[in-house]
């Protein structure tokens, strides 16, 4: 029993070690450039929601379904699904960029609160989990456009808030960005 418990603990530690050592470039969540949110805080995919909604119009689809051949309707449905998936993926990229900005602020802060940090960790784990569930839903054929609208609005609002935060950072943020860009090849380099 003790050998099993100890071996399990070692196995878990080794798996975590491998995960922690994995290059951030291999992580699709971390693929966008590190300082992008600082340089272009307002460029969020949520702002394209109007166009997406137009492309996903339920009325248009019903109109098409009533008149067009089944093959065309099916293809349209597939295209709409593909667009929704792309949109959701880009929303996740926005979410990740904002999380990274929070990391930059945290790392450059002389004092941080454990409660805020645990809260953000919990939220990012939960988002990651829910994103996968939503992805499954979309693959199963659900488009759920009203909810997509709410989601986009929140991302856009968050983008606006972050822009304000970056203004507060002012010159210090630009100095920090210079420092980070010279120190890292994807993150902050301590040595």
């Amino acid at each position: 029993m003790s050998l099993f418990l100890i071996s399990s603990a070692v196995g878990i530690l080794l798996m975590l070690l491998l995960w922690a050592l994995r290059s951030p470039q291999n992580d699709s969540l971390a693929s966008p450039p590190y300082l992008e949110p600082i340089e272009e805080p307002a460029r969020q995919h949520a702002t394209y929601f109007g166009l997406i909604r137009q492309a996903m119009s339920h009325e248009d689809f019903e109109f098409l379904a009533a008149r067009a051949p089944v093959r065309l309707v099916r293809r349209t449905h597939q295209e709409r699904q593909r667009i929704a998936l792309l949109y959701i993926e880009n929303l996740r990229a926005d979410f990740q960029r904002l999380l990274r900005l929070a990391s930059v602020i945290t790392v450059l802060s002389p004092e941080i609160a454990a409660s805020h940090e645990f809260e953000r960790l919990r939220l990012s784990i939960r988002f990651s989990w829910r994103y996968r569930i939503v992805l499954l839903g979309l693959y199963a054929g659900h488009l759920l456009m009203p909810q997509l609208s709410g989601l986009s609005q929140i991302v856009a609002e968050l983008s606006f808030r972050m822009e304000s935060a970056m203004q507060e950072l002012g010159e210090r943020a630009s100095v920090a960005a210079d420092l980070a860009s010279t120190l890292n090849r994807g993150g902050l380099d301590p040595a």
């Binding site: 530690l13 990391s103 945290t106 301590p190």
Partner: protein, 262 residues
Amino acid sequence: MEDLDIFTKWTWAMTAIAQALLLCLLMARRNANIYPAFTAYIFMTLAQSGLLFVAIRGSGFSSLTSYRIGWATQAVVMGARAFAVAELCRHVLGRFRGVWLLARWILLICGTAVLLYALLAANHQLKLLLSTTELGLELAAAAVIVTLLLFARYYDIVVARPVRLLAIGLCLYSCVSVLNDAILERWVSRYITLWNQSGMVAFLGCLLLWAWAFRHSAPQRAAIPMFVDGTVYLNTIPEMNWRLRSLNEQLMQFWPQGSSRT
């Protein structure tokens, strides 16, 4: 020395050479100034090898004297190792004041919790008290290093290559030691020779890895980050967390059945 097999003797000799080589590298490349605890740890392992050599040559491998010297020096080496791990943590996160203040408590709690787990999970035999303690300490060291690297990853802090290799070596050696001690507890009489050999081979591998890591001089002075005002964090992060929470709730509406699962 006659009661040691040829493989153990050769491994021992190669390990001593690798220890001396690494120590010379640390001194010559002036890395000893940057990693004093690690240098002290390597020095102590070399001194332990020398003392054990004298003891085994004088009174034999299975004698009580060799046993006592072996475990006494091992306790000192374990202490030095703990300092080396602490030094590693400071090198990775120490410059980021806020994160470091948070991380050191978490690392300490994590290490203590894993140590207790290991001591509770291990077999409690008096004759194996020392190896059980070693097992607990090694598992705690491995857990601390893994948590440290997870911290660095979460906050996008790039770990410099020598520090990374140092961490990998310390962690892997700890894991091998833990497994070794756990197997020793179960098959104590039949496993003792293999226990010695596998521990030595693992340590030799780590020494070579560290020698590779420290073949160049590390930068003498690390850049100190330009900290932002404390109010920026206090004003921005709670707001961000609130928005992220809202985003999570909205995301869940895509999949109505899923809301009951979380």
